[in-house]
């Protein structure tokens, strides 16, 4: 365990910073590919422009841009959660602005990973009026494997 917190002012300052990731579009190709990945079905048709599409499509939009890398504070990292949120269903053909942000950085002492730091980040997809339509979030934990212990279900 480090002698002092690794959450320096520089690291804490990342929270809330927004990084524009560019414009994405809900396309028939994104719909078809996402549906095939998650359901194994290959749809013969796609919803018409303006029609709702399944939330899976978010995974296709999420990959349009590379998100900024988190600072590496501890030697090991692990994905601990994913989340999709929708203010309304996505619609075929709509264009959205994607914005990356770090939502929270927290440290934990003890437990399965010993001293660990959780980074929660999300990409928000906004409509033309700047209203959030959907969010794709993930939480990574950084830890030192040398201090971790296997406790089964976390």
């Amino acid at each position: 365990m480090p002698e002092a917190s690794l959450l320096t002012d520089e690291v804490r300052a990342l929270v809330g910073l927004e990084t524009p990731m560019g414009r994405v579009q809900v396309t028939p190709k994104a719909f078809r590919r996402a549906l095939e990945v998650y359901t194994g079905r290959i749809p013969r048709t796609a919803p018409a422009a303006g029609e709702p599409v399944p939330g899976y499509v978010l995974a296709a939009l999420d990959s349009e841009s590379d998100t900024p890398a988190m600072p590496s504070l501890l030697p090991n990292s692990l994905l601990i959660s994913n989340e999709w949120q929708f203010e309304r269903p996505l619609r075929m053909g709509e264009e959205l602005e994607s914005v990356y942000s770090v939502v929270a950085i927290t440290e934990r002492f003890g437990g399965r990973f010993g001293y660990s730091i959780d980074f929660r980040a999300e990409v928000t997809f906004k409509d033309a009026d700047g209203n959030p339509v959907a969010r794709s979030g993930r939480t990574m934990t950084q830890y030192s494997a040398a201090e971790a212990r296997d406790e089964g279900d976390a």
């Binding site: 590919r33 996402a34 095939e36 990945v37 998650y38 359901t39 194994g40 709702p52 399944p54 939330g55 899976y56 995974a59 296709a60 999420d62 990959s63 994905l79 601990i80 959660s81 994913n82 989340e83 999709w84 949120q85 929708f86 309304r88 269903p89 993930r138 089964g152 279900d153 976390a154």
Partner: protein, 141 residues
Amino acid sequence: MNLDPAAVKEGDELPVLHLQPDLGQVIRYCALQWAFPAFFYDAEAAKAQGMPGTLVPGPLKVGLIYRAVDEWLGDAGWVCQVRAAHRRPDLTNRPIDVVGRVARVYDENGSRRADLELAIINEQGEPSVRGFAVVEFARPV
């Protein structure tokens, strides 16, 4: 069978979704994300990192939970939120079940909603993912 939103109540169980994600599905997911960590598709690379074999990516599993909810819901509503807390890795080509139950039914901003508790259960009967979802019973507009 169409879901009747008026009949949904706390404790209702979702149909179990039996799945067996294979390497092909994982590779298609990697292509969708345009991200190709070798331990997802190369067994030797996975073993070199201390894993017993190629893994089902965590972000793929949040979509599988979404699928279980979406298929249960059908045309009766839409999924507002889905969350997956990863507890254990799942290996490719191993059976998993997505299970769920209705935890709460309530009204919010004039809409009828339900909170769902979900899990992915591996072949040992252990939860590899704890999930949560919120659905709204209304046709999307």
